[in-house]
């Protein structure tokens, strides 16, 4: 890291500041630096350099002291993050421990965080499905939230832009509800997944089983090799960081690319306290940062500011940016800042077993993408007693197992000579939730964290619509599994509060009208045009698709717009 001369305002002045180095901030920084802007990328956590800082990446299972299990003392001290499926011994160093950064749960909220360079892009699930107009038009058609100020045509070229660079595997499936993109070869479905696909296409018109689109280099292109990334090796140990750069992360891709331009200054250990608003100029002029090592307060200045701190923290920064002009938080003329927070409903899964002629097959190697079923409820019109619908992940597989009932030599023989198990089939729901005014993120008026930033209060909950949707998912998938001849079909409610889906969204929503939304169609604060929000906080509605790809496209689009506006003298 270059030595920053904090005595000089000039040295603390950049063309652009990006707050947060996760999946959206990495993209903002890449685009801004490529277009020639001197950019300061702020990250509240430590630095994580590609490969060098992946300490567990090449470890074998037996090299982990507890074979992957998180010791009880850590689990008891950190009950929330311990609920996360990826919080295991191999990747727990990339997750924020509950006790390190407290917040107040007015209602239970499982907030899963990654405070480091790269943020959660290091440990994400790498699913990258596009939105269509059936998603963007949802709020207007069904009368909730506010109308999105953009449509698919606005974002489609930017989806292409980020897909080509990130590397997305997938099929051109030709589905209106899940538009095709710029795909590398897909990871094909396996024998039983294909069987299910066939049954569904024959018996359930309008329902589709496809290879999930995923940010894996199934066949690297020159632009990926130029990033220093190579072919995905099907390890599926992605949450440790990939030594091959086989999946997309800020660390392997956008940040080193931005560094190569010579225009990037990356500053880890920098908590943003607030954005500085200049009452005379009527614009934001910079940010106030607390150095987490020295606790020193430093101001940085720029002409444009991108807030990519992740949904909840982006809300926090704006709410904490108080001025005479904005006493309720930056850009909060409407009073909706911190409101209409929503999430993805991952409340259930359905499993079963296959028995039949396909038992002559098994799988060999590992599939990093697996199957996907786009939303099929209420797609073209309202058909059910609940609003919107759910997508689902699908996977089938076959493992080796050992009968462990015996002991002695019989047990040992079973362990040494494993048997091939039956095919299992599993799916999990990914439901859209309706943003509501009473779902909020706000600041505690009293308590502060160790950087002097007010503690957050979060209140988000499931509702009736979510409950009905879960029942429908159980019914429909049990029925479809039965139609495919699957046995031992079982449904399971997933434990956990909102947040455990790690797809919290909203609070700084986009909209046409400054009276009911915070951001315009270019992700600018309606009332402070040189501040942009392109992470999950900007989401007007949630739809069902894993949101990261959309944040990437939003960031690239807004960053290029910002540069154009700067050049025109409009910012």
């Amino acid at each position: 890291m270059p030595q920053l001369n904090t005595d000089s305002i000039k040295d603390r002045t950049f063309d652009a500041i990006v707050i947060g180095s996760g999946i959206s901030g990495g993209w903002s920084a890449k685009e801004l630096t490529e277009r020639g802007l001197k950019t300061l990328l702020l990250e509240r956590g430590r630095d994580v350099r590609h490969i060098k800082d992946y300490p567990t990446t090449n470890m074998l299972p037996y090299e982990f002291e507890h074979r992957g299990e998180v010791p009880l003392a850590i689990r008891e001290k950190n009950p929330i993050v311990s609920k996360c499926y990826a919080f295991r011994e191999d990747a727990m160093h990339f997750f924020v421990k509950d006790t390190e950064h407290p917040y107040i749960e007015d209602k239970p909220f499982d907030w899963i965080r990654g405070y480091q360079v790269g943020g959660k892009s290091l440990m994400w699930a790498r699913q990258t499905q596009r939105w269509s107009d059936l998603d963007f038009e949802g709020p207007a058609r069904d009368g909730f939230a506010v109308d999105w100020p953009i449509r698919y045509k606005d974002i489609a070229p930017w989806y292409s832009h980020v897909e080509k660079f990130a590397g997305i595997s997938g099929n051109k499936d030709g589905l209106k509800e899940l538009p095709d993109g710029e795909f590398l070869p897909p990871y094909p479905l396996n024998a039983v997944e294909d069987h299910f696909k066939k049954v569904v296409s024959e018996k359930y018109p309008g329902r589709y089983v496809i290879s999930a689109r995923a940010a894996h280099l199934s066949q690297p292109q020159p632009v990926h090799l130029e990033q220093g990334r190579g072919q995905c090796q099907n390890r599926i140990l992605c949450q440790r960081g990939c030594p091959f750069g086989g999946y997309f992360s800020s660390n392997s891709s956008t940040i080193p690319w931005a560094q190569k331009t010579g225009n990037l200054t990356l500053r880890p250990f920098s908590v943003v306290h607030s954005i500085i608003y200049d009452e005379q100029k009527g614009r934001a002029t910079g940010v106030k940062v607390i150095d987490t090592n020295t606790k020193e307060e430093i101001e940085y200045f720029a002409r444009v500011i991108f807030v990519n701190a992740s949904t909840v923290n982006t809300n926090l920064i704006l709410l904490n940016s108080i001025s005479h002009r904005f006493p309720e938080g930056l850009g909060n003329d409407s009073g909706v800042l911190g409101r209409y927070v929503a999430f993805h409903h991952y409340g259930g899964d359905v499993g079963g077993r296959y028995e039949g002629p396909l038992d002559r097959f098994r799988t060999d190697g590992r599939n990093p993408a697996r199957g996907y079923i786009p939303r099929f409820r209420n797609v073209y019109k309202q058909e059910t007693s609940f609003l919107r619908g759910y997508a689902a992940g699908l996977s089938a597989g076959r493992d080796f197992y050992s009968d462990t009932n015996a002991i002695g030599e019989a047990l040992k023989d079973n362990l040494v000579n494993r048997k091939l198990g039956p095919w299992y089939v599993g799916s999990h729901m990914m439901g859209e939730t309706i943003p509501k005014k009473e779902s909020y993120i706000k600041l505690d008026t009293d308590k502060k964290d160790e950087w002097g930033v007010p503690l957050l209060r979060v209140s988000v909950d499931f509702d009736d619509n979510d409950a009905k949707m879960l029942e429908d998912y159980f019914e429909q998938f049990s029925e479809m599994f039965a139609a495919a001849g699957f046995k031992d079909i079982r449904t399971r409610k997933r434990p956990g509060a909102p947040g455990i889906d790690i797809h919290e969204m909203g609070g700084v929503r986009m909209g046409h009208d400054p009276r009911t939304s915070v951001l315009n169609k270019w992700h600018q604060l309606h009332a402070c045009k040189n501040v942009f929000v392109t992470d999950g906080a900007c989401m007007t509605s949630t739809s069902t698709q894993n949101p990261s790809l959309t944040y990437m496209a939003f960031s690239a689009r807004a960053a290029n717009f910002a540069v154009d506006e700067l050049k025109k003298g409009n910012l």
Partner: protein
Amino acid sequence: MKRRAAIKNMMIFAGGIYLLPSCSGDPGKASVELAHITISAQQEALLAAIAETLIPGTKDAPGAKDLNLHLFTLKMVDDCHSADDQQKFVSSLRVMDKEGLFTRLDGAKREKFITDLLEDTNAPEELREFMKITKQRVIQGFKNSKYAMTDLKQYELVPGRYNGYYPVENV
């Protein structure tokens, strides 16, 4: 690197992981460093004998003792189990050791002792729990050992491929 090698030489290889030897060097204490439970050397030997009965060494393949699975079990009980489990575990070892319940038996009777404990619902609950935990951890240690994963090729770190229609005949 010399220092690292020296430390490594001092460490005990248990099913593929290195455990720190106990600092005390007291021959009456367990041979690995434990934070929450206290085990004597004799109780450790008893656990080793139970583990070896569960997965015995044979002429073609290592068993629990060779792979130090009793030490792995101690490590897991010490770090990953509740205080209640730990209490049951330690107390059972103490009782069995004191009364020579296991060690006085010979080969075939040892197996029967374990099987009876696991299967007889009227057996003392604490001993049953102890045996369930031990069996589960010893099996886990074996499956996840370097021997099983590397020599028996039960794990692949870098497959580099995926085939969803792999004929079972090729297994």
